[in-house]
Every structure is written in structure tokens, then in C-alpha cells.
């Protein structure tokens, strides 16, 4: 075991998987850059080690990056393409939504597209309206794509290895405001199966389902409320598609109360999705209304003051928990 940040864990997996399988290639803007390894240094060292045939700096051309990664996956490579910020989905969506996601189905099961798209998500780093979105609910809505969003370095390592070895297209969402979060991570390669939630902490009064960076907030809220005698169970689904709805329902059956914390905009969010699953299949377990804690229905503002107002806070999570517990 070693203490690694999420950034380091991702860098380590890329090294490990490239060494393990020479069909794995890394491509994107600035990924081969010798000094930096991209804006946040995630791909540092790969180009030196694996060479320019397998670590490919591309022009700024997201449609072609994502489309070519898909085409290469369709024909035998296992590309890890970088879509620098998930906001740039806007530039390349056709290749992902109409092409990559549908190959297998449209071709009657006759194709596999083992492409991984790594992308940065989230507000809180002062990156403004066009570099701070969450957007993963849009992808979760598309059949044929798997969507992953780790909240710690251990999960980042196991889930990224799984993504790269997985035979389906996977979008791997990295929250830029938690890259430096550290935890103990096994030194050897391992995978975490998709569709298995992690119980972050056990509790009996209320279930909090949280995604990506919001897991950290939920954990803090749980710790603080424990002091007040409120026992909070925090569930991190880790993969958004497939979603471990059984784990959510099982926890709810125990606690009878649910708060969902999701940094997405509120409509058609993961928070609404989880709520709808629960109302559909766990209505009888509910002792109180579900509370959703999300960002508001606005873009992410540049102003730090407004950004603070935008992003859900620990206080928001605590307030929601108190509300359902008091119901």
C-alpha cells in the first residue's frame, strides 16, 4: 500500500495498463507534453516510457479525437482518449452518442468498442462557465456507454483499470477539485467491477447517496451529525451507469430515509434518477420525502462568490439530512 492522490493513482494505472497491454494507447491534447503531462499532469511520464506511437498528442479537434479513439477501439486498440474538460462534449457529442455508443447494438452484437474517455468534471476550481460542468447525467441517459466517477484514489485506480480492460465504451469522470485527495492504494494493479456501490460509512437513520466529489461532503456531514446522534449511511455508487440500485434500495430498507447529493444541475440529474428508482421500487421503505441536494438550474458562474453559492455545501447536505430525519 502507498498513500496516493487521485491524480497519482490515475497516472499509475495508465502506466500499469500500458505496460500490461500494448494495445492500450493514450491520446489527446497535450498528453505527451514532456514537462507537464497535460494541464494537471495526469499523463506525466507516459510519453517518455511508451513513446510517441502509443502516447499521441493530437491537434485540438475533439470530434476527431473521440471519433478516432472509437474507430481505433472498433478495430483492435484499447484507446484511452482524453477529453480535457467534459464541457467539450459539446464539440464531439455525435461521435460518442451516435457512433461509439451504438456500434455494438446497430451491428447486431458484431462489434466491441473498448474505448475509455477520461474527462474532467466539476465546479469549485474557479474555471468558469465553459470548464466546470458535470454533464454525466447526459451520458448516463445514453444506452451503450458506461459512466464512472470515482471519489477517492483507491476507487480511481481500480475503476480506471476496469474501464481500460472493459469491452464497452466507458467515460471516466475525474472531478478536478479533488485530484489531490489522498488515501492508501495497493501497489499492485487491481480492478473494481462496475455496478458495485461502496458503503462509505454505515448508519441507521438516513441513507445519503452521493456522487463524485459530493461523497466527501456527505462523509463530512455524516461525521458532524454523528456527534448529534444522527446515524448516517453514505453510499457512493462509483459507477453511474451501470448503477447499483440494489445497494441503494437495501440501504434505504434499513434507514427509511434518503438524501441524494449530486453536483449536477437539478433536472434530469443523478439525484432525480435515484429518486425515481426509489419511488418506483422502494416506495414502501420510505418514512420521509426524499431530499435532493444539487446545483441550481444555472450555468457555473466565474465569480468565486457565486460559484460558492452554486456548488452544494456540507451545510446543505446537513440541512437536508436534518430535514428528513425530523420529518
Amino acid at each position: 500500500m502507498s498513500k496516493l492522490s487521485i491524480r497519482e493513482a490515475i497516472n499509475q494505472v495508465l502506466h500499469e495498463e500500458m505496460a500490461r497491454d500494448d494495445r492500450v494507447v493514450v491520446m489527446g491534447e497535450d498528453v505527451a507534453n514532456r514537462d507537464n503531462g497535460g494541464v494537471y499532469g495526469i499523463t506525466a511520464g507516459l510519453a517518455e516510457k511508451f513513446g510517441e506511437l502509443r502516447v499521441i498528442d493530437t491537434p485540438i479537434t475533439e470530434s476527431a479525437i473521440i471519433g478516432a479513439a472509437g474507430g481505433a477501439a472498433l478495430t483492435g486498440l484499447r484507446p484511452v482518449a482524453e477529453l480535457m474538460f467534459i464541457d467539450f462534449l459539446g464539440v464531439c457529442l455525435d461521435q460518442l452518442m451516435n457512433q461509439i455508443a451504438k456500434f455494438r447494438y446497430m451491428f447486431g452484437g458484431g462489434a466491441t468498442t473498448p474505448v475509455t474517455i477520461r474527462t474532467m468534471i466539476g465546479a469549485g476550481a474557479g474555471t468558469g462557465p465553459q470548464h466546470s460542468a458535470i454533464l454525466y447525467p447526459m451520458l448516463v441517459a445514453i444506452p451503450g456507454i458506461k459512466v464512472v466517477a470515482p471519489s477517492n484514489a483507491y476507487d480511481a485506480k481500480g475503476l480506471l483499470a476496469q474501464a481500460i480492460r472493459d469491452d464497452d465504451p466507458v467515460v471516466f469522470c475525474e472531478h478536478k477539485a479533488i485530484y489531490t485527495e489522498e488515501c492508501e492504494v495497493p501497489d499492485e494493479p487491481f480492478t473494481i467491477p462496475f455496478g458495485q456501490a461502496r458503503t462509505v460509512c454505515e448508519g441507521t437513520d438516513v441513507t445519503v447517496v452521493a456522487f463524485s466529489r459530493m461523497v466527501l461532503l456527505a462523509e463530512q456531514a455524516a461525521t458532524q451529525l454523528a456527534a448529534e446522534g444522527i446515524s448516517v449511511e453514505v453510499i457512493d455508487p462509483r459507477t453511474l451507469s451501470p448503477l447499483d440500485d440494489e445497494a441503494i434500495l437495501a440501504s434505504l430498507q434499513k434507514t427509511g430515509r434518503l438524501v441524494v447529493v449530486d453536483e449536477s444541475n437539478p433536472y434530469c440529474s443523478m439525484a432525480s434518477e435515484v429518486s425515481s428508482i426509489v419511488v418506483d421500487r422502494g416506495f414502501d421503505y420510505l418514512d420521509a420525502p426524499i431530499r435532493k441536494v444539487t446545483a441550481p438550474h444555472t450555468p457555473v458562474p466565474a465569480s468565486p462568490v457565486l460559484e460558492l453559492e452554486y456548488v452544494p455545501s456540507v451545510a446543505d447536505v446537513e440541512a437536508a439530512i436534518r430535514e428528513v430525519v425530523a420529518y
Binding site: 479537434t61 468558469g128 465569480s303 462568490v305 453559492e309
Partner: protein, 324 residues
Amino acid sequence: MIYSTEMLYQAYRSMKLIREFEERMREEYQRGKLPGFIHMYRNQEAIAVGACMHLGDEDYIASTHRGHGHCIAKGCDIEDMLLELACKQDGICKGKGGSMHIADMSKGMLGANAIVGGGPPIAAGAALTARTLGNGRVSMAFIGDGASDQGTVAEALNLASVLQLPMIFMYENNHFAEFTRNPKPDGRIAERAGAYGMPAVTLDGTDFFAVYEAVADAVQRGRQGRGPSAIEAIASRYYGHFEGDAQQYRDSTELESSRITSDPIPKFLADSRCSDLETARIEQIDAEILASLDAGVERALAAADPLPEQLYSDVYVNYRGESA
């Protein structure tokens, strides 16, 4: 081409204002006074100024993430810009846009842009408005060498050509996209644009007069309804991609020499066409600029932040965003 002395002073003033504005922004950024990313335009000033001097408030530009120079050259108010860079309530975009999204519709400034290649289709749309209304206006997109590879740029070139839009594709080739050197030889970008069926020239973007004269032709063409043009202006990037990038990936000797040889301002002053400019007047302009920046920065930093409830306004014209 004939240049009046007043016009030359104006060109100087504009370039110098961009330069000093940005130097001041760097200082404030380093002192932690400005949030987000800021991208310096240094040594590319002659491009924005040489181009925008042909445009009025009624003409349009679409800018990039490296947009301060374009804003200033197009006439955006310095104090409003300072307020926006500091993300204040009275900023040009009420603090919601910041450096990478400054826009001023009253000046035909359709926005800096944090999406590389986001601007050209928008500029094509503005050119479409001008063509449809027959009002003789033109539209200009600023495009980096990196952005020139983007599909949106190719599509805008094609649309502008097919529809013969009054549009200028103003490429700024500073040889870098973030930390990666542009592998294309100088002139390739213009060549590509030319392949869409429009006049396309390559020139020294640190030479104000070269830019000014090429844009004069392109703008005239647009105003006369003769379609789009492209210009590739070469001007090496002086600072890192964004503030805080130390450019370790660049050869330091080459960088140092290019910093000096490609400074457009001394080059401008040394040009024979500027021989009538008086040192005293230049010094006076410099002093005025510094004084206006001092006052503006002080006011901007002391200004009020947006109120939390302003997060929810302006999502729509008439449908209030859900408040938390």
C-alpha cells in the same frame, strides 16, 4: 497607404494600453486578486489593433480565451473589463463570465471564448445578420493556430465561403497551443483557408502596418459584398499559455530572442511612417494609460462582489432559474 499622425497615436495608444493593462493584470493575478485562468496576449497586440482599427462599434468580433487585447482594441471599457476580470458585480458581464468570457454587445464584441474554435461559427452568424440586413457591417473571428485545427473552424470557413459572408478569419499563429508546439509551417493555416475559396495571406503579426493594410482589403471586400477573407498573422507567444505556466518546454535562448525581436511596439515606433510622432506626446500617452489603470484597478478591487442571489438571474429572459 496614408497614415495620419492622429491615427498613429491612436494605434500606439491602443497597443500600449493592451500591454500595460495585461502587465497590471499579471501582477494582480500573482497577488491572488484575480480568480480563474488568465491568458496573456503580449507581443500579439499589433494584430488586434491593426485589425480592429478598421471596425466600428457596429461591426462584430468573436474572440478567444486570449481575448483581453481583442476587447480593448474593439473599444470595450477598461474599467468594466477590470471589474469583470475581478468577477465583480458591476463587471461587463456582472462577474459571471470572467476573463475568458468577456463580451460587450454594445461594442459588437461577441465574447471571449473558453471553447477553442467556439467563435468562428458565431462570427459567421453575425456576418449572416449583416448580409441579410444588407447593412454593410463585417464580422471578424480571431482564431489561434491551435484552434485552426478544430472542425468548427473548417465548417465556418465553408459556410462563409458558400454564403459569401462578409467575414474575416483573423488567425493568430503564435506557434503554440498550450504546451505543445504547432507542427504546421507558417502559412499552412492561410493555405487551408484559401482552399475554401477566399483570399488568404500570411504576414508578420508583429508588424502593425502589415496587419493594418491586409485587414483594410479584407474589410473592404466584406463591406462590398465580395465575401470572406483569411489572414494568418505570425507573432510568437511571449508568456506561457496561461499565467503560471513557466514554459519549461520552450528553448530559453530562442524564447528570449523572440521576445525581443517580436515586440510590436518598438517595431511600430521605429517605422519610418512614425517618424513624425513626438516623444513628449508618447510619454504623455504612457502616463495617461498608467494613471487610468491605477485608478481602475483600485476601484475594481474595492468593488462589490455579486450578491449570492444573482447566481439565479439571467439564465433566461423570462424564466427564472430555480433557486437553491
